[in-house]
């Protein structure tokens, strides 16, 4: 292992600009002649717009333009799309209602876009927006998922008269019902997966710009996948053909899924730039972000697990209602279906699984992928069911899990996935050791002496990452392929540029990708530059989400590097006057086998460009290679997280006392960065379990629209984490990488709730387990104990 190669905890190359205040985020960019956009948003959850009069706003000094849905329609600008087709049980396609970037006659959630005011300053735009007269006729709001599909509920989209987007299923119902019929024990649970707001610290922002001379657009935007944004904006929304639309995603301050999607605001900014003839900038404030960023999770689930007389799992049955909000966001349809149900087997050998999912419209913000996307929801179902089942049949939860673990690989689950490799017991054993499971009884007694309740909870999770084999996802309804591209440019002096379709917004690609190059080419990481986030520089790419940049993005780079080395061997053969078959490449040198004749990578690069030693007819000059990598399977990171809590039953305050994470991510490029990803993921998972919850009142107003009410995890809410790993290299990609970006967020919520319910003597608590919720459960547990 070189000190900057694969496996080294290299300090990040990108950090210097961030710690010195020289990062360049979208809002930091100022374009000449830039104007400012402010969106007038609906104050109502559900209303028709009877009249919209913008004349007073337009007459305000300093206002450059006021645009509405009518203007969009006149220009033939298409609506926002949902890129994954889901079919219901009966074979009918999902019911996607129109999603105009600015409302056309109707608003469907508080925060929906009614009009945009473009002015010299943001303050003027805001002042003018107050002068827009809107005559709303309010309709009954549909907020509650259960009520949404009931009789008499107002209809949000005419295409979906019962507010159902789809009624989907996966698995073998007959086999599952049969297994339940012969079960000795059935565990049943009703679960709420609470609605979350992603909250990257950088809010979304966009600058649209139009170059009349070339009839070309540029969009600077906070995107996790600028190429997909360009594809959607040109092919579907119709802003401009691809070669006339450049999308740049500069430094991006976190995404967690919420910056994958193509939203109304950037669509409007880029379109409006041509209409007003000046660059148009919009930066979300935090309240707008709460109202209009796509939210995450929001499931209501009933789940059942069937066991035989020895506690062996026989079957699982799951029914889920998934809130999709008022419109279908870009990938929303696949999150509670194909990113959810295929994970319901967890780490367990379960012969039969059947899952039904209803996707439901409500008058709330659209719901889409948030860190983990579907997989945290599945893991919560599996790990709560498993924990409760173990308790119900009186088995130790660790032993119960171990008994049911999958041990033979590859393993075909009853829900699509073919797990390639893993050693689940190894992670569990290590975790038990690190948490000091044996000492739990003593620690519980110590806590009891102080009047506190202590509990421990496990979460043995699996996730499907490295999204994804294109043909496979295509057959499941995806609108795009999910390969990744890379181009490696060897420069004449031996430095290297890597152009990647992945996008970094905190993941440290500038470092890890350079480590791969350093490892393969034997050059220092300082000789390597990673280029990403600009559709004019990088030809195409699918972006970063679903923990795919390592397994898919880096595999593409590895493939391109292989081609560079192969080409280098040809050049070296000419330069060293040897036959190509005798050239070896090792530690950055091309050498002739069995001799001391060799050339460094940089020397060969120079030879490739000066092209004096070979004829251009036999070999093309230059050293630049590209590759597209399409994965052959998903990857399956897995692990065991253990959480230990201490509860103050008088106040209901839960303190996380210990956290152990043992993950199997396959091969790790930079352990420092990987651990950082785990820490961040756990914090978001703990946030979901204890603190965070987006709450709409009955009229559809978002009550938690700022940090005054939406509780973000802070430093003093969290402990330090003990993070360790086991390793089974992934066989399906050349690097053995599985992916790590979402593991913590997936693993954490059930670990926390399992720990709390353990402390409370099994009394259930819904997420977020706020002090009040835990206090109530503790009261109830105490009453039940007293009654016994």
């Amino acid at each position: 292992m070189s000190n900057t190669g694969i496996g080294a905890p290299v300090r990040r190359k990108e950090d210097f600009r961030f710690i010195t205040g020289q990062g360049r985020y979208t809002d930091d960019i100022e374009r000449p002649g830039q104007t400012h956009a402010y969106f007038l948003r609906s104050p109502h959850a559900h209303a028709t717009i009877k009249k919209l009069d913008v004349s007073a706003a337009l007459a305000t000094p300093g206002v450059v333009g006021v645009l509405t849905g009518d203007d969009l329609a006149k220009d033939g600008v298409g609506g926002l799309i949902c890129g994954w087709m889901i079919h219901s049980k009966d074979g009918s396609p999902m019911k996607a209602g129109a999603h105009p970037a600015l409302a056309q006659g109707k608003v469907r959630y508080v925060g929906d876009h009614v009009a945009v005011v473009i002015a010299e300053t943001l303050a003027i735009a805001k002042d003018a927006a107050e002068k827009i007269a809107v005559d709303y006729e309010t309709l009954a709001p549909v907020v509650d998922m259960n009520a949404a599909t009931g009789k008499g509920a107002a209809v949000i989209h005419d295409v979906a008269p019962d507010n159902r987007v789809y009624d989907w299923h996966l698995g073998d119902k007959t086999a599952t019902d049969a297994a339940f019929a012969k079960a000795k024990h059935v565990t049943k649970l009703d679960l709420v997966n609470n609605r979350l707001v992603p909250n990257p610290m950088e809010t979304r922002a966009a600058i649209g710009e139009y170059d009349a001379g070339n009839d070309a657009f540029t969009l600077y935007t906070t995107s996790q996948n600028p190429h997909v944004a360009r594809l959607v904006l040109s092919a579907f929304i119709g802003i401009a053909p691809e070669h006339k639309l450049r999308v740049i995603a500069p430094d991006v301050g976190g995404g967690f899924g919420s910056k994958i999607f193509i939203y109304a605001e950037e669509t409007v900014c880029v379109w409006a730039a041509k209409k007003v003839g000046r660059p148009v900038k919009w930066t979300s404030d935090r309240t707008e972000a709460f109202l209009s960023d796509a939210h995450g999770r929001d499931h209501l689930t009933h789940a059942e697990l069937a066991l035989d007389d020895k506690g062996k799992m026989l079957a699982m049955r799951v029914h889920t209602k998934a809130n999709l909000g008022a419109y279908l966001s870009t990938f929303s349809s696949c999150v509670p279906t194909y990113l959810y149900a295929p994970l319901l087997s967890g780490q367990y050998d379960i012969p039969a699984i059947y899952c039904e999912v209803e996707g439901i419209y409500t008058n709330t913000a659209p719901v889409d992928a948030y860190r983990g996307a579907g997989r945290p929801e599945a893991t919560f179902v599996v790990e709560r069911l498993v924990e409760v089942a173990a308790r119900e049949i009186g088995q130790d939860p660790a032993a119960f899990r171990r008994k049911n673990f999958i041990r033979k690989f590859p393993h075909q689950t009853p829900v699509i996935m073919a797990y390639d490799v893993g050693d689940y017991a190894a992670s569990l054993d290590k975790a038990l050791d690190l948490i000091d499971y044996k000492g739990l009884g003593r620690r519980k007694r110590d806590s009891a002496r102080k009047g506190k309740l202590r509990g421990l909870g496990f979460s043995a999770y699996i996730e499907a990452c490295g999204i994804a084999p294109s043909a496979a996802v295509g057959s499941l309804g995806a609108g795009v392929g999910l390969w990744e591209s890379a181009e490696v440019r060897g420069n004449p002096v031996g430095t290297v540029e890597v152009l990647t379709g992945s996008h970094s917004h905190g993941q440290g690609h500038e470092t890890t990708f350079a480590q791969l190059v350093s490892d393969r080419l034997g050059i220092s990481i300082d000789q390597v530059a990673i280029v990403h986030g600009d559709t004019d520089k990088v030809q195409f790419g699918m972006g970063t989400y679903g923990s795919r940049s390592g397994a898919v993005g880096m595999s593409a780079i590895a493939k391109a590097l292989d081609k560079v080395i192969a080409k280098g061997k040809k050049v070296a053969a000419y330069a060293l006057e040897a036959s190509e078959g005798d050239i070896e490449f090792k530690d950055g040198r091309f050498s002739v086998a069995g001799t001391d004749k060799s050339l460094a990578f940089g020397e060969v690069a120079l030879q490739a460009y000066i092209a004096h030693k070979f004829s251009g007819q036999e070999l093309e000059p230059g050293l630049k290679e590209g590759a597209f990598y399409d994965p052959t399977n998903f990857t399956f990171p897995s692990g065991v997280h253990v959480c230990e809590v201490e509860i103050d039953p008088e106040t209901g305050v839960t303190k996380i006392d210990r956290w152990v994470a043992v993950d199997d991510f396959g091969v790790v490029i930079n352990p420092m960065i990987v651990e950082g990803q785990v820490h961040g993921g756990i914090a978001q998972g703990v946030g979901q379990a204890l603190l965070e919850g987006a709450h709409y009142d009955a009229s559809g107003q978002l009550v938690t629209a700022s940090y005054m009410d939406y509780c973000m995890p802070r430093a003093d809410d969290l402990p330090s984490f003990r993070v360790d790993h086991t390793t089974t290299p992934c066989p399906s990609n050349p690097l053995g990488i599985k992916g790590c970006g979402e593991a913590g967020a997936i693993a954490a919520p059930p670990a926390v709730i399992n720990a709390i319910t353990d402390a409370l003597g099994h009394e259930d608590v819904a997420m977020p387990a706020t002090p009040q919720a835990v206090w109530r459960a503790a009261q109830k547990a105490a009453r039940l104990a007293a009654a016994e």
């Binding site: 919850g693 709450h695 009550v703 938690t704 009410d709 939406y710 509780c711 706020t770």
Partner: protein, 267 residues
Amino acid sequence: MYAFTYQRAKTVRQAAGLLAKNADAKLLAGGQTLLPTMKQRLASPSAVIDLGKVEGLAGIERKGRTVVIGAMTKHSDVATSAIVREAIPALAALADGIGDPAVRNRGTIGGSVANNDPSADYPAACLALGATIVTNKRKIPADAFFQGMFATALDEGEIIVKIAFPAASKASYAKFPNPASRYAMVGVFVAKRGSDVRVAVTGASSDGVFRWSAAEEALRARFNPKSLEGVSAKADGMIADIHGSAEYRAHLVGVMTKRAVTAALGK
């Protein structure tokens, strides 16, 4: 924020004069409440009168058994003041628990007391310690000053100049922060002076800070957490929101009072 004119006052008199001229003007102290409110366009003063450079409004001094704190004294200065820490350590601890360090570096005691947010901390200390709020016009006892959520005895144009806190023999503040905002969801200040005991509760009631007389009575008999057994606050009139029901808040009032008494006893 809406547009406003900005005025800097050099003296309290000048500030009062500017206020008198414009009923729509607002005083700006630390700005930690006023500016967020204006940013959200929930307040729209036509003029803002900055007290930042008014002489003599900031500072802490001891007068016998009383600690006098200037209205423009920042929370961080109260928290770290040797005088306060010696005479009324509970008050320094309270100041140290307001918001976060950056908020404490700008927010002032005068602004907090004038604002009388139902979840603010200082009002509980004023009420429990029997403080006197001194304005440019008069002296107002705390018992008469706080008049319900965001309401005070201050007249239009009246400016808080300083606040005098008589020391107590035993005192403590126990705060249960709102998990999101970190303001007090329930905060209880207990103070014992001779045979008198005062218990002031903030955060809980929709009427703002209040004295909990049942607890005071019980504690006057014996200043011990055990005296509070069987004494419970009523849920009627307590704030109910997504963070806590009225019942939960009432329960927390009892718990925090016990904890404050325990801490006041140095246990």
